[in-house]
């Protein structure tokens, strides 16, 4: 049996403050010698002694701390609770945790913390300005002596913390029956209403589900209402196309808008996949990157990873390339949700090109206007007027796109009811 070589733990480091004190103390001692005056010596003596005493007080046994944390909360609010476990002893008060705050997030009140000899519990409250999907990396935990002259980074198990905040209404999108725009191979549509076709699988029962549709054995097994799903009754598929091209709004606004769009796509995908609806994902920057239509657990992991990994591209590819790329990955006819901020340039617009390739489109356009509120330095009444004019201008520009498909102007980031309404009413989606 090979014995594993013990890993050396993090060394103790001097902080810049220790250097400052030694230089100041030494300087005062030098002044005392130069002036033959003992007073500077007395003032400098504590400064010289402090680093030595701090180095002598380093706890030798405290080099590893394990972190266990989780997030909770609804909508904009995030509550992070965590526990640090180690033999802190009397040094619990000297342990700090450096936690990076995600962009667009504010702290709500001071953190609550309880320190014990073997356990430190903390609660942090944040508020997200807009929907976002972020992963908080493992924080740096360190010990620093009370005077702040020596410090040691503490090792240990540190999982990262994923935070998902998207409009709460998206959780119920999966319960919706999407229109089937593509027929299955060999399928002949019947005018007779009712259940037919081969058994496809089980799904969560809707509140108004007829008792005949309920699979009572499966319900008894799982303890929640499950209904049978048949091949011909299946809801339609959905492709989500995320536009990651740079726009005229600038990189910072682009990043924020993409963050909001990513959160919405994440919520939609998760909700639809929970209901076993086939979903495909494509991100278009300079080139098209796609995850083909599918469903299931593995597909869920694959697609959610692709959504989280979608980043703003530095170069904008032509819209034709996107449309042709879609044809390569997906069958024409599948309902396509295009998520694009659409900054106003008609050649930038994906909708006509995608539609021309045979994909019925719905545009979800996150509006940049809420991000500019209060940045113009206007008086409140002027600000309200400016907002109203900007909103009207945007609506006018977006109205040109209605010839290609339904358009959802998303200006209230914490609700997507308008999109849900469009998806729920198939008649709205049929554009001649």
């Amino acid at each position: 049996m090979i014995e594993e070589e013990p890993r050396p733990h993090q060394p103790v480091r001097w902080t810049s403050r220790a250097y400052l004190l030694v230089i100041a103390g030494g300087g005062l001692a030098a002044v005392a010698v130069a002036l033959r005056d003992p007073v500077p010596l007395f003032a400098g003596l504590p400064l010289l002694l402090a680093p030595l005493l701090a180095a002598a007080s380093v706890p030798q046994q405290l080099y590893q701390v394990d972190l266990d944390w989780a997030s909770s909360g609804l909508g904009q609010d995030v509550t992070i609770t965590g526990e640090l476990r180690a033999k802190f002893g009397r040094h619990a008060g000297d342990v700090s945790l450096a936690l990076p705050i995600p962009l667009g997030t504010t702290e709500v009140g001071p953190a609550e913390i309880q320190r014990g000899p073997e356990l430190i519990r903390f609660t942090i409250r944040w508020r997200f300005a807009e929907p976002s999907i972020v992963t908080i990396p493992a924080p740096r935990i360190f010990w620093r002596d009370p005077l702040g002259l020596t410090e040691r980074t503490l090792e240990g198990a540190r999982p990262s913390l994923p935070l998902e905040r998207y409009p709460p209404g998206l959780q119920h999108v999966g319960a919706m029956r999407l229109e089937r725009t593509v027929m299955l191979p060999g399928e002949i549509r019947t005018r007779v209403a009712g259940a037919s076709g081969d058994f496809y699988g089980l799904r969560e029962a809707a509140p108004d589900e007829p008792p005949r549709h309920i699979n009572w054995r499966a319900t008894a097994r799982t303890g929640r209402l499950l209904a049978n799903d048949y091949q011909l009754e299946r809801t339609g598929d959905l492709i989500v196309l995320l536009d990651t091209r740079p726009s005229a709004l600038g990189p910072e606004v682009d990043e924020r808008l993409l963050g909001v769009a990513r959160a919405a796509v994440y919520g939609i995908a998760e909700s639809l996949l929970r209901s076993k609806i086939r979903i495909g994902f494509a991100a278009f920057g300079e080139f098209l990157e796609a995850v083909p239509l599918s469903t299931g657990r593995i597909h869920r992991v694959r697609i959610l990873r692709a959504i989280v990994g979608a980043r703003r591209s530095d170069v904008a590819g032509p819209s034709e390339r996107c449309a042709l790329g879609l044809r390569r990955f997906f069958r024409p006819g599948v309902t396509t949700l295009v998520v694009s901020a659409w900054a106003g340039d008609p050649s930038f617009d994906l909708l006509p090109y995608v539609r021309r390739q045979g994909f019925p489109v719905i545009l979800l356009s996150p509006s940049p206007l809420p991000m500019f509120v209060g940045t113009g330095g206007l008086a409140p009444e002027d600000e309200a007027l400016a907002q109203r004019l900007e909103r009207l201008e945007r609506r006018t520009r977006l109205s040109d796109l209605w010839v290609h498909g339904p358009v959802v102007d998303w200006d209230d980031y914490w609700t997507l009811d308008r999109l849900v309404r469009v998806l729920r009413q198939p008649a709205h989606r049929r554009v001649s």
Binding site: P6, Y19, V33, V39, P46, L103, F122, G148
Partner: protein
């Protein structure tokens, strides 16, 4: 994501700032400057340093100490060699350490936790003051200062030679 890094709970530092300001003020009063300027420099240095670290605790954690040290140095350099000034010079240095420990960018209660370290430092100051009282003449003071200066230079050389780290104790897991 890489913007502000915040500790969990933050200290206040007001009580120790008042204590440090009072000690530095008295030290200024006993010093060689006028009755007006001495305390003003002492209290002013402490006030500027406290305001600086209270305004941006993370950014000015180290820099904020500089105005207080500078005020202390001015007062010490101009003070006459009398036992009261020597005592308050030492007390000001100790109060400075207590104030530095009560950092708003650090977990609260730093001053309280630093008491054992500061108590040992005050023992050193008390011992040095007792020596100056017991041994007449300034030769002993200057000898002590020279020894401390040499010690400071050696310590600084050790710190700089081992920049940026100083490993203490075992480097392997037990």
């Amino acid at each position: 994501m890489n913007e502000p890094v915040l500790p969990l709970d933050r200290g206040g530092g007001l009580a120790t700032a008042v204590l440090f300001g009072f000690t530095a003020g008295v030290f200024g009063l006993l010093g060689g400057l006028s009755v007006l300027y001495g305390p003003a420099i002492g209290v002013g240095g402490v006030a500027i340093a406290s305001a600086l670290r209270g305004w941006r605790p993370e950014q000015y954690r180290t820099v904020a100490l500089a105005p207080a040290i500078l005020a202390l140095a001015i007062l010490a350099a101009t003070a006459p060699p009398v036992p009261a000034a020597e005592l308050f010079g030492g007390l000001s240095g100790l109060a400075f350490l207590l104030w530095a420990a009560d950092d708003p960018s650090r977990p609260s209660g730093g001053g309280r936790r630093a008491v054992p370290t500061i108590a040992l430092a005050s023992l050193g100051v008390g011992l040095a003051w007792a020596i100056t009282l017991a041994v007449p003449g300034r030769a002993a003071d200057i000898g002590l200062a020279g020894a401390l200066l040499a010690a400071a230079l050696v310590l600084l050389a050790v710190l700089l030679a081992r920049l940026p780290r100083l490993t203490l104790g075992s480097t392997r897991n037990a």
